[in-house]
Every structure is written in structure tokens, then in C-alpha cells.
Amino acid sequence: MSQFSSHLRHVASRLPIPEPARSRVLLEIATDMEDLFRHLVAGGMEEEAAATAVAEQFELSDDALQELSLIHSSPVSRSLESLSGQARSTWERVILGLMALFLIPGAAGGLFLQPTLYGDASPLAFLLMAILTLGLGLGLWKAIALFRPLPDGAPVPRQGLRTLPGLSLLLLSLGFAGVWVELYRSALAIRRAPELALRYLVEWLHMACATMVLALSAALLTALIWFFLENRAAHLEERSAAAILEPQG
């Protein structure tokens, strides 16, 4: 609940961006309004006068709102928010959760427990595993931050959350890089011994598949962790935004 809730509701109705960016912009405006209000009061202004001054100061035009929206919704942000905005219903999330927890390892049938997979994959597999470990660590850190009770008015701890899809993309890129580097090496080997071309090609395909299994699974896992954490952050922001939009009294 905010003393500027009616003003903020007016702003919210004119903000041309979808959730969760909308809540995030509103929270930012609300924080800025509160800061200015406290600054004016500290400067000796009456509270009522300060509130009126703040409201006037934040009477944003449509153009200003559009500009603010653009700042908060770059193409990358829009894409990520559009993606994280999917699977909103409980049953959809249950299916995604099942896939993350049971189906992917289940389908892989213990493949990941076999040391041969790592040996068969490109040498980049160890880098992939290091990045996955980093992603899991970051995910755990963010999960603790997002599921811990937040002090009133404290911003949602989003720092580092966007790193997770970045890591996911990096994992995929490294997977493909590993596949193509090894293809180049296989081609060199085939040039030296053309009579073994089929064997070299099959060995490359074998390595490529092992690498892609690792890269794709690691990328999916990292992306799913981000998906759940992003939704958690958005949920917290929407709840805070809803609170500040509630009418006073």
C-alpha cells in the first residue's frame, strides 16, 4: 500500500508493457516517488505539500511512459519475459517440473551416471560440466534469495538471474562448437587415411551425439532453473506492485 497508489494506478493503466515488466516499472516509480517525498519532507516541506509536489513531478506524459517502457523492455528482455511468461497454469508447471526432475534423467536412463559419456564426448564436455555447476550454484544462490522472506519495500533480488539463460545459451554454443571442432579434426584424419573415412565419421557422430546430449541437457536444466526462478521473481514483483496499488485507508 502506498500513499501514491491512486497516482500509480493511473500510471499502470497507461503503461504499454506486459507483466512482469509492468510491475517492475511501477515498483521503480513508486520507490522514486517515496524517495523524493522523504527528501522533500526532510527539507522542511509539509507532508501534504510534499505529496502534491511529488505527484506533480511524476505526472508522466504518454511519451515519457513510452520511453520508460522501452528502457525496461529491450528485445532480449521482451523475449525472455515472453518465454518466462509461459506455462502459467499449475498443471503446465507440474509437467515442466516433471520433465526437469524425472523425465530428462529418466529418458537418459542413467546415461549421465556413466563415465563413458564424458569420455566419449568432446574435451569441451568438462567445460560444459563446469558451466553447469556454475549455473546450479547460481540457481541455488538465487533460489535462497528469492524464497527467503524479504524486508518490506526491499527490491526483489534479481541480480544475476539473467545470467542463467546466458549460461544456457553458452552451454548450447559450446556444445555446437565442440561438435564442429571435432568434425574439423575428423576431416583432417580422413585426409590422412581416406580408407578409414567411415570409421572416422562414425566416431565423430558418436562424439557429436555425446557432446550434444550433455550440452542440450545441461542447457535445458539451466533454462528450467531460470524459468522457475524468473517466475518466482515476477510473482514477488507482481505481489508488491499489487500492494502499492491498493487504495489507502
Partner: protein
């Protein structure tokens, strides 16, 4: 659809679930669209995006399924010594199934998303990635229709599929020779290959395989290359069946699969003289006894190429010295081997020893006289049947053809049953190979010596020959041994018996069996059936071809599956083989090997 799910492996179930999700969210979007209530634009946008989102998830899962399946399949293919381009191609066709399944779902979701966007009258703005995705989908569908399993050359079944059955492992081996798909079932026990049985017929249609045995057993299955399994049913002639999952194995995982333990070992085989052991055998290099080692090497290479079928051991002795001792398919010098009907020739020696000891008057002793307790049950004509008729397979009893071939029994009840048969031909003239008759020897020896055959053999034959290991338990009934074929011996001990026969009953400077008995029992008494072979007292005789127009006489004990103790008196040569050629029609293949390599090398040296 069930085939699509099955071919996609475990990912098939995930993709099926995702297909249902896409279908559901599509229907949900259509319903929302038709209702036209609520904040329509936002709801429609969210719900349409959900269709696309779940389609994309299916596409990613399909790709993961292909990578996973291909990795497993290639792991198996790479373990094979030779990589077949056909098998790789066929494997890839199948590995694409989950990807195509996922792309199909994605394609449907994209199409649904586009149509619903149009219906919602929202401006349709294609994502830049959509055209390439559609192109990929079209290529995939085209590739799928071109690569339907069964339309491509090559057989997924090619390889070895293993069925466990107690201590035995049955290796179903499929291989293609031109247009014909061959199938052989190899019976392995531990690291030893016992025998092999070719299938009557084998047919492969893509991943589907059927193979029929002459026993009426039929295997019907389907190869799942990704899981490395041939899954199907074994159908038995009595109508029963059994579900089986046969995992793919490397041939190399079973050292005994190959004669010399390795597919390529034959090229590195080099001859060496047998090991000296304290079993009474003197050993020598082949050259010292006038045998060109090159001939022995060529013979072993022939065995390695499978020219003698499944041979387990090959021993050669000349001038009383063992010059070759080779074992194959995981067998070794310490492995007792069934000698099958060579047991009959041992029975002949035991009868000779009983005569020599005065327990039996001679070969003209009436058989019925040894079984007075069954006098009342005797069939007709027994008063004229002598031991010689029994030993020469000329008792001419009225056994049914089935009994004559398959009745392997001993014990009092068997003796009574055998004696109840009547003579239906001319004893001493009508030769017929009836194993059952030989089992009467167990009763005769027991009556004459007061000992069961095994104990008598131990005392009078095995101990003097220095034979310390044997097994004669199979089929033993009331202490009576099966005399027609259940004795197990070491190949070196089989060779001792051959050497003793060659030396007129002498071994290690001692007369074990009388020279007279050896002479009379290895003499040609009758012609054995329609062939040129002769028959002595449970010993076979023939002239073994050496080269064009030349031959050497040989006396031999002949056991089913290439168990032979062959004595070549004019070459002063003994040869022993044990094998597993019971079911592959190669029982006599080793004779060709001998005629091609060993005998010419030795006969050239004949004075």
C-alpha cells in the same frame, strides 16, 4: 502412432505427453476465441504463445531424443570390429524418429498458432525462425518417407544377440551373404563355445527379424538399435511362447566364439610342440617325427577359418610321441570333453579286458546268458545272439527306428526292455547302428566281473593308461553306466587310447589289452551300412583319401559332433579331435581337413 512411440524409445512417451499438451492448449485457445469473453486480446495472446511454447519444447525434446538414441546406437556400432555403412544409415533413419516426432508437434503448433492468430484478427507477424523451421519439417517428413525401415538395404539384425538360459548363453548371430540372411545359434558355456546350429531360415525386414530352427523353434523379434536389444518372442512347436530381450554383444566379448580366441588370431598362429606333462606322453616337435610343421600350421589356419566347423581340440601323435596339441573355442587341456560314441570303442576295449581276465569266455558267448533273470521275458531269437553280434552292431533286433536312434538308457528296466525285443533279421549279417544294444554291455560287464563298467574301466584300463580324470555320470542308472556315449575324457587321454590301439594294446612298455583283442576288434567284420566304411568290434574302419587315387587305412572311434580317435597303422599316426559339430552338419568336416593338410604331409614320407 504406437510404432512411432516405440521407435522413439523413452522419449516417445515424453513426446506423446507433449503432443497431448499442445492439443489441449490449442483447444483451450480455440474455446477462448469462440467464447469471446474476458480481456480477449491478452488472453488470446498468452494462450497462442502457449501453443508455440509447448511445440518448441517438443522440438527440443525430440532433438535430445535423437542425440541420446544416436549416441547409444553408435556406442554399439563402434564396438563392432567392422562398421557397416548400411547399419549406420539404418540406425540414423530410426534415430531421426524422435526428432521428426518433435518437429511434427512443433509444426502442428506453429500451424495452429498461425491459424488462430488469423482467426483472432490479430496481425500475423511470422517469427524470423519460422520459415527455416518449416523447411526443416518438410525435409524431415521427406526423409522419413524415403527412409522407412525395410526399404533400405542392410539388416539391423546383423550381429550377435544373446539369450541367457541357465549356464548357457545362446548367441543368435545374423549375417548377410549377398541376398541371403544367415542365422546361426551358438551355444556358449562360460568362455567355451559348445556347438552351433544353423537356422533353417532367417528373414529381416527393416528392424523385424524372424528365424526358424529345424527343431520347430521360431524367433520373432524387432531390433531396437538405440537400446541394443532384439525384443520379441520365442515360439515353440507345442504352441507355447516366451518373451525375450536379447542384448547385442560383440563377438569379441566371447573369446570362445572364435576358434583361436580372436577373429584375426589365425594369421599370427605359429606351431609349437605340445607341453611336456607327467601323464606318460612323450612330446616332440613335428619335424622330428617327419611331419612338416607347415602342414600343421595350415591345418590350424583351416580350423580358424571354420573349415572343420566347431573343433575343440586337435591332437596328433606319431611314432609314439605327441607332436601337436591345439585347443579351440575356449577349451583347454584340463577340460573334460564328452566323447559321445567313442564310448562304444572304450566299451569294446572293456569287453576285451574282461575276456582277457577270464571273466567272459569269448566273443561267441551268448548275450542272453548274462541276463538269466530275464529269461522269461526274452524275445525270440536270443539263443543265437552272441557278444560278437552285439559288438558288430548286427543283432538285428526289432527296435523301432525311433528307439534305435534316440533310446539312450541303461539299468535293469532297460535290460529287460531290450531283451524283450525279438530278432527280426539275420544276426551277423544285417548291420544296423543301434546305440541302445551297446548299453547291454553295462549289464554284461557287471554280471561277468562283479563290477560296474566305470569301476572296471578304472582298474583295468584307465589306471594302467595313467588316466586320472574322467566323468561317466551322465545317464548312470542304478550304478550302470551308459556304454553308448556318455564318457568324458581329456583329449590327451583319448590320444593314449589311440596310441595303445596302434601299438597292439601296449602303453608305456606294458601290455594293457591283449594284442589278439586289438587285432580282432579293429578288423573289418562287416560293411557299415551303404557306405564304404567297415565295422569292427565297435570300431570303425575305412580308407582315408590322401591325394588323388591314394588312401591310407584308418581305424577310428567315432563320436557325434566330431569326437574322433583315429589310428593310422601304416603311418604310425594317431589323431584325436573333439568338437561341437552335432547340429551343423559338419561332423565329418575334419576328415577333409586331415586329407587336405596333414595326411599328404605324412604320407609323402612313407617308406
Amino acid at each position: 502412432m504406437p510404432g512411432l512411440i516405440r521407435l522413439s524409445g523413452p522419449y516417445g512417451y515424453i513426446l506423446s505427453l507433449l503432443a497431448l499438451v499442445v492439443l489441449f492448449v490449442t483447444i483451450r485457445a480455440i474455446r477462448t476465441l469462440l467464447r469471446g469473453t474476458g480481456p480477449r486480446a491478452v488472453v488470446i495472446r498468452d494462450q497462442l504463445n502457449a501453443v508455440l511454447f509447448w511445440g518448441a519444447v517438443a522440438g527440443v525434446m525430440g532433438f535430445l531424443g535423437q542425440c541420446d538414441g544416436s549416441y547409444r546406437a553408435l556406442s554399439i556400432i563402434l564396438r563392432a570390429r567392422e562398421i557397416s555403412a548400411d547399419v549406420v544409415a539404418e540406425g540414423f533413419v530410426i534415430s531421426f524418429v524422435p526428432t521428426l516426432f518433435g518437429l511434427g508437434i512443433l509444426g502442428f503448433s506453429v500451424a495452429a498458432w498461425g491459424c488462430l492468430r488469423l482467426l483472432a484478427r490479430a496481425p500475423v507477424k511470422l517469427p524470423p525462425a519460422l520459415p527455416p523451421l518449416f523447411l526443416l519439417l518438410l525435409l524431415g517428413v521427406f526423409g522419413c518417407s524415403r527412409g522407412t525401415p525395410g526399404e533400405r538395404p542392410g539388416d539391423l539384425a546383423e550381429g550377435v544377440w544373446v539369450m541367457e538360459a541357465g549356464p548357457d548363453q545362446f548367441l543368435w548371430e545374423f549375417s548377410r551373404d549377398g541376398e541371403t540372411l544367415g542365422c546361426v545359434v551358438h551355444d556358449m558355456v562360460g568362455s567355451r563355445k559348445m556347438n552351433e546350429t544353423p537356422c533353417l531360415e532367417a528373414v529381416a525386414d527393416g528392424p523385424r527379424v524372424t528365424a526358424s530352427m529345424d527343431t520347430g523353434v521360431r524367433l520373432e523379434g524387432e531390433v531396437n538399435l538405440a537400446r541394443g536389444l532384439l525384443t520379441g518372442r520365442l515360439l515353440y512347436p507345442d504352441g507355447s511362447d516366451m518373451e525375450v530381450d536379447l542384448p547385442w554383444h560383440r563377438r569379441e566379448a566371447h573369446p570362445g566364439f572364435f576358434p583361436l580366441g580372436d577373429a584375426e588370431a589365425s594369421s599370427s598362429y605359429s606351431y609349437s610342440a605340445p607341453e611336456e606333462r607327467s601323464d606318460g606322453w612323450k612330446v616332440a616337435p613335428a619335424a622330428e617325427v617327419g611331419i612338416d610343421p607347415k602342414a600343421l600350421v595350415e591345418m590350424v589356419e583351416g580350423v580358424a577359418r571354420g573349415e572343420a566347423g566347431v573343433l575343440h581340440s586337435l591332437l596328433v601323435a606319431r611314432h609314439g610321441r605327441l607332436v601337436m596339441e591345439e585347443y579351440f573355442h575356449g577349451f583347454g587341456p584340463e577340460t573334460l570333453h564328452r566323447i559321445a560314441s567313442c564310448t562304444k570303442s572304450v566299451s569294446s576295449l572293456l569287453i576285451g579286458l574282461a575276456i582277457q581276465g577270464g571273466d567272459i569266455s569269448g566273443p561267441d558267448a551268448p548275450v542272453a546268458g548274462f541276463f538269466p533273470e530275464y529269461r522269461s521275458a526274452l524275445g525270440s531269437g536270443w539263443e543265437d545272439l552272441t557278444l560278437e553280434h552285439l559288438l558288430t552292431m548286427s543283432m538285428a533286433l526289432d527296435w523301432s527306428p525311433e528307439e534305435a536312434e534316440n533310446l539312450h538308457a541303461t539299468g535293469q528296466e532297460f535290460f529287460r526292455r531290450a531283451l524283450s525285443h525279438s530278432v527280426s533279421g539275420t544276426p551277423g549279417r544285417d548291420w544296423a547302428y543301434v546305440s541302445a544294444n551297446v548299453n547291454l554291455v553295462a549289464g554284461i560287464l557287471h554280471r561277468a566281473t562283479g563290477m560296474h563298467a566305470e569301476a572296471f574301466a578304472e582298474e583295468s584300463l584307465f589306471h594302467p593308461l595313467g588316466i586320472e580324470s574322467w566323468n561317466w555320470d551322465y545317464g548312470k542308472t542304478e550304478g550302470f553306466n551308459l556304454m553308448d556315449g556318455s564318457l568324458q575324457l581329456l583329449p590327451r587321454d583319448m590320444a593314449k587310447i589311440g596310441q595303445m590301439v596302434l601299438d597292439g594294446g601296449r602303453w608305456g612298455g606294458k601290455q594293457i589289452v591283449s594284442e589278439d583283442w586289438i587285432r580282432i576288434s579293429t578288423r573289418r567284420h562287416l560293411q557299415a551300412g551303404e557306405g564304404s566304411e567297415g565295422y569292427g568290434y565297435l570300431w570303425w574302419l575305412m580308407d582315408a583319401p590322401v591325394s588323388e587315387g591314394d588312401s591310407v587305412p584308418v581305424v577310428f572311434a567315432n563320436g557325434w559332433g566330431s569326437q574322433f580317435i583315429a589310428v593310422f597303422p601304416t603311418l604310425d599316426l594317431v589323431m584325436v579331435t573333439t568338437g561341437g559339430n552335432e547340429y551343423n552338419g559338419k561332423h565329418l568336416a575334419v576328415a577333409q581337413l586331415l586329407g587336405q593338410y596333414l595326411l599328404p604331409a605324412v604320407s609323402r614320407l612313407r617308406p
